[in-house]
Symmetry: C2
Subunit: 205 residues, 2 copies
Amino acid sequence: MPTDKNIELSISDDHASAPPKAAKKILDVAYDLFYRRGIRAIGVDEIVKRAGVTKPSLYRSFPSKDELAASYLRQYDLEYWERFDEAVKAHPDDPRAQIKAFLTRIGKRTQVADYRGCGMTNAAVEYPDHSHPARVVSEANKQELRRRLRVMAAAMGAQDADTLGDGLLLLIEGAYISGQLFGLGGPAQSVATNADLLIEASLKK
Amino acid sequence: MPTDKNIELSISDDHASAPPKAAKKILDVAYDLFYRRGIRAIGVDEIVKRAGVTKPSLYRSFPSKDELAASYLRQYDLEYWERFDEAVKAHPDDPRAQIKAFLTRIGKRTQVADYRGCGMTNAAVEYPDHSHPARVVSEANKQELRRRLRVMAAAMGAQDADTLGDGLLLLIEGAYISGQLFGLGGPAQSVATNADLLIEASLKK
DNA sequence: ATGTATACGTACCGATCGGTAACATTGTCA
DNA sequence: TGACAATGTTACCGATCGGTACGTATACAT
């Protein structure tokens, strides 16, 4: 998938004769608006307006709004696994600590005002149709998350690794959703604690 | 959940001075469409068409589409607590069994094709603005769910009742979401099992 | 200087959005 | 019969939706 493109050079591209590329500006703005306010809620007119470009520019880089939404989620996917891998790398060969680190981070993120949960989850709610381009990306992301959690649960030595992996996924999804539902002080702040309790209860004795 | 269709001729309602009420037909159809396909995805034209009424009829009974959506959720709220109370009544004075029954039911519901999760949760995702009429109803429902779960967790004798109650809420929300994300065979089928593990690990010894 | 290719803008499309005005029709009850 | 309330009918509103036809500007190589 060509994630249009030129994401690099992020630090400084103001120098010299390199205009910031309409496609990148569009994707950046779409990312922000789609995530914060929802995909269906944002029209292409608002995107191009905020990006300082025009509509034909959008449609030269992206074949449709739906595909722009899919591109937004592909970018989201990249950053998602970066965060995930950070937690993993911070605790080599210790899947339980990896999970704890990842969930602690999620729990913290949910405790900021106007937290909007997981872009992948939100997109799937907005588009029930499994064939929608955005939903395809979302489902793939979640399948991968499930796979990783099950692998980690097995590495922890769970009695039933698949059940524990799925339980952790339920807690994570619950944190994403209740984070945006309850705002500050909501149930999501206890996700890491509850996950650790669940892990403890699921290990082979 | 009302399968659309005019309730006309339903057993006994044709007699006497009770015309089938356009408002009821509209709300039934809106309920079905909003739940299955999302609120933003459904236009008022489609609602009145499927309900066999006209647009002015809709706006005589509901001041706006947003308020119709709120009415849909108020109806959803009623039926939600009916289901909840069924599980409660089935196991008097046994909150752990009550939770297990409620979650087993949720786990089963998530395992049907085209499951669409919780209407309350979905509406909150569709409308991030806390002042939106639909979201107000949704947030109230979730606050009440949280309150009940915490009370039940306390009644179970949890070491930290609030944490357990919130953990159960996370699992429930996770089940709603992953139920519609993964379809058959998804993580939501293990929600009751995981909840019971979490409860076991949270009780005072 | 000129050709060529790419990037961009102006202006517009038909369709649909939520919502309404004005009037005709119906059934119920008095 | 007459009054009333509920619903239907038709036609319309301005705004916004996603998307496009087509002309213009700039950059660079020849």
